[in-house]
């Protein structure tokens, strides 16, 4: 299969290693990987802040960059959810782009969803002995319905002991611009999430959205209780190294 990566603005700028590892895993599974130029962001930052006109233009750019792709895969459930959930709304008055966004929706996946549901490859033979806990990100689970896939991948990681995270369903307080627009509420939310992470007894926090992980890890670091944090992609990448 020919897979195009959608690198997302956050990983592109802060965590290029996540995107690169994703590319490596897909290549390892025998797929050809490309990264279309011009892609930058799904538009969510502006959309969630109420700037839909700005969001629409960013979305249009993204649509253009993947027009010739067969499959689009991204390390963020939130960004894929933005495309699936809101692009039709953004382009409701533009039939041409409405059609283009529907095409993009049909071919775009979040990484764990793609691996488990499309490729049916929950077992990558990874090995990573550690006690970990997993934070299910809101957009991936609620908007995209990516619920089981991450757990299936984790089940197959040898040596990994997955500990339950209390009140896992609670939002970590990131919410994109919410975290700077309502910083105190956001802080209270991440504080609760961080407490649950610490109480889980895990040595590693896992997730499938770098935004949430950046938020939780950033808070834990600020209160001097750093916990190792990884995207499932990073865990798999490390675990697959010979």
């Amino acid at each position: 299969m020919k897979v195009s990566l959608f690198a997302t603005c956050l990983t592109n700028a802060f965590y290029p290693g996540v995107d690169l590892t994703m590319a490596k895993i897909l290549k390892y599974l025998g797929h050809s990987v490309d990264v279309p130029e011009g892609q930058a962001c799904c538009g969510q930052i502006a959309f969630n802040s109420g700037y839909i006109d700005d969001a629409r233009e960013v979305a249009r750019t993204l649509i253009h960059s993947f027009e010739r792709s067969e499959i689009v895969v991204s390390p963020s459930g939130s960004c894929i959810a933005m495309i699936h959930h809101y692009y039709p709304f953004l382009f409701e008055k533009e039939p041409v782009y409405l059609k283009k966004s529907e095409e993009l929706i049909k071919k775009s996946y979040e990484f764990t969803q793609f691996l488990v549901d499309v490729l049916k490859k929950p077992d990558l033979g990874a090995k990573y002995p550690i006690k970990a806990t997993y934070h299910p990100s809101c957009h991936a689970t609620r908007l995209l319905g990516v619920d089981e896939a991450p757990y299936k991948l984790l089940e197959h990681v040898q040596g990994l002991e997955l500990l339950p995270l209390a009140e896992a369903q609670l939002c970590c307080g990131f919410g994109g611009t919410f975290s700077v627009k309502m910083p105190k509420i956001s802080e209270a939310m991440v504080a609760e999430k961080a407490n649950h992470v610490l109480a889980s007894g895990a040595d590693l926090l896992l997730g499938i959205d770098m935004g949430c992980l950046m938020n939780i890890a950033g808070y834990l670091e600020k209160i001097n209780k750093p916990v190792k944090t990884m995207h499932i992609i990073q865990l798999l990448g490390e675990g697959m190294k010979p």
Binding site: P16, N48, G50, Y51, K184, I185
Partner: protein
């Protein structure tokens, strides 16, 4: 009018500093949420009930003109006096008129969110009328002079001791702060009020269009008292609170009781088809139905937000909301708080200056939409309200500039690449131990409570481009 003169920030600060409030909010929402799960799981087919509820509500709203007309005809036919109020002022005027006409001095009320919405108690008290809330929680906040902090448990933010302190001046002696004592005190005291009440004012959970029936659910029994004992009854309803017939009522009552408190049915479900018949021994002789619009018709005319009218006020969205969980209801500043309050308040009140913060009281996590028994896409409505606010020009200039810049860079990826490279060099003044720990606002809003990773020396797009270049040159 609001009970608050403080700013949004002050209210949020006060809420976050109030540990009892935050614990109480967690306790209340956790309890209600888990009760709900028990009650919905045992049905084994909750999704089917939800879907039915959503279709019923949407159908009613899309045919509200017909059903409201039918309701008016059916109730009038039986002798109910119907009053259609366009505005809160209209509704208040209707009630005041009725109270004055009967020279009523004692008004007893069971729970009505419409009464809160129109600040009825405030006006009745100004007229020298003793208007008593009889729901225990509503009574507590009435004495405290506060709006409800939760739509189902309005006084959940008060400790027993605070409640005892509020009751003592009324009791005229000290009260121990255990719940049975406090409940007994209210039972005895309210009995006098119930028997003395000239006029009863109630809310309305559902109105049945084809029979002209008013349905009320309560657990304490005060709704029954208020609708049985006084000679005159006034029922306040939002104009959207309709079901076509008893067939649909079944679904709605199941959804409401299970979602609100996890009960199969509330302790008391009362279906009134007023007024009482001449031969009957009790029940009000005179019955007024006040139907309030208050910009609901504007919402009806706006397809984007129309689903907000589907709400059955069950409170399930409050009990899953991570924002509400941290700050409780008062920080919102509005009568309706929680996710649905953040959606409908700006639409009902039409005042961005005052209520523009509400759509932002959400991380858009979607838990509310997932919980709603009638499938209202609350998080979608919140994000769409944000867009409305921006379009209406009520956002700061600087914010508009930031998003213009965002749009520019994120539609010009090559420029973005260069900007990121520049950023990775310019970030060093703010970097400690490999993390960004400070910076100008809005960045500082983040770094006050969190560290931020450094902008990578090479963005992924650059890394990939370089890899490709290397591959080509080595070929």
């Amino acid at each position: 009018m609001t009970m608050y003169n403080s700013s949004v920030d002050q209210r949020v600060d006060a809420a976050l500093a109030n540990n009892f409030l935050r614990q109480a909010t967690r306790r209340a929402t956790d309890r209600l949420r888990h009760n709900k799960y028990k009650a919905t799981d045992e049905l084994g087919s909750w999704e089917e009930w939800r879907n039915a509820g959503a279709s019923i509500r949407s159908h009613v709203i899309e045919n509200l003109d017909y059903y409201l007309q039918q309701l008016i005809q059916q109730t009038e036919k039986r002798g109910v006096q119907v009053h259609l109020a366009k505005t809160p002022e209209d509704a208040v005027a209707v009630v005041r008129d009725i109270v004055q006409k009967h020279d009523a001095k004692n008004v007893i009320k069971s729970k009505s969110m419409i009464s809160e919405e129109i600040y009825l108690n405030h006006f009745l008290q100004a007229d020298g009328v003793l208007s008593v809330e009889t729901d225990l929680g509503e009574y507590i906040i009435q004495i405290a002079g506060e709006p409800p902090s939760h739509i189902i448990v309005p006084a959940m933010h008060k400790t027993r001791q605070q409640v005892a302190d509020l009751f003592e001046p009324i009791a005229g002696h000290t009260l121990s702060s255990d719940t049975p004592t406090l409940t007994r005190f209210v039972r005895v005291r309210m009995r006098e009020q119930f028997l003395r009440g000239d006029i009863g004012i109630t809310g309305c959970n559902f109105a049945v269009a084809n029979t002209g029936s008013i349905v009320m659910v309560t657990n304490e029994g005060n709704g029954r008292m208020v609708s049985t004992l006084p000679r005159v009854q006034i029922t306040l309803m939002g104009m959207e609170r309709i079901v076509p017939s008893f067939r649909e009522l079944d679904v709605m009552l199941n959804l409401l009781a299970r979602s609100a408190t996890g009960q199969r049915l509330s302790s008391y479900t009362t279906i009134l088809t007023p007024p009482r018949q001449s031969t009957e021994s009790d029940g009000p002789e005179e019955f007024h139905l006040v139907i309030l619009d208050h910009n609901r018709s504007e919402i009806l005319g706006d397809k984007t937000f129309r689903p907000a009218l589907n709400c059955i006020r069950c409170g399930a969205c409050f009990n899953v909301c991570p924002v509400y969980r941290q700050i409780g209801g008062h920080a919102y500043g509005s009568v309706y708080s929680g996710p649905i309050g953040s959606v409908i308040t700006p639409l009902l009140e039409k005042n961005w200056e005052k209520w523009g913060h509400l759509p932002f009281f959400s991380s858009l996590c979607g838990a509310c939409s997932e919980a709603c028994p009638v499938h209202i896409p609350l998080h979608d409505l919140l994000v769409k309200l944000r867009a409305r606010k921006t379009i209406s020009g009520h956002t700061p200039q600087i914010e508009q500039q930031i998003f213009k810049a965002y749009r520019y860079f994120f539609t010009h990826e090559k420029t973005l690449r260069r900007a990121l490279r520049l950023g990775s060099r310019l970030q060093f003044p703010f970097v400690r131990n490999g993390r960004i720990t400070g910076g100008p606002p809005p960045l500082s809003n983040w770094t006050k409570s969190r560290t931020l990773p450094m902008v990578a020396p090479k963005s992924f797009m650059q890394v990939w481009a370089d890899l490709k270049l290397n591959r080509k040159s080595s070929e």
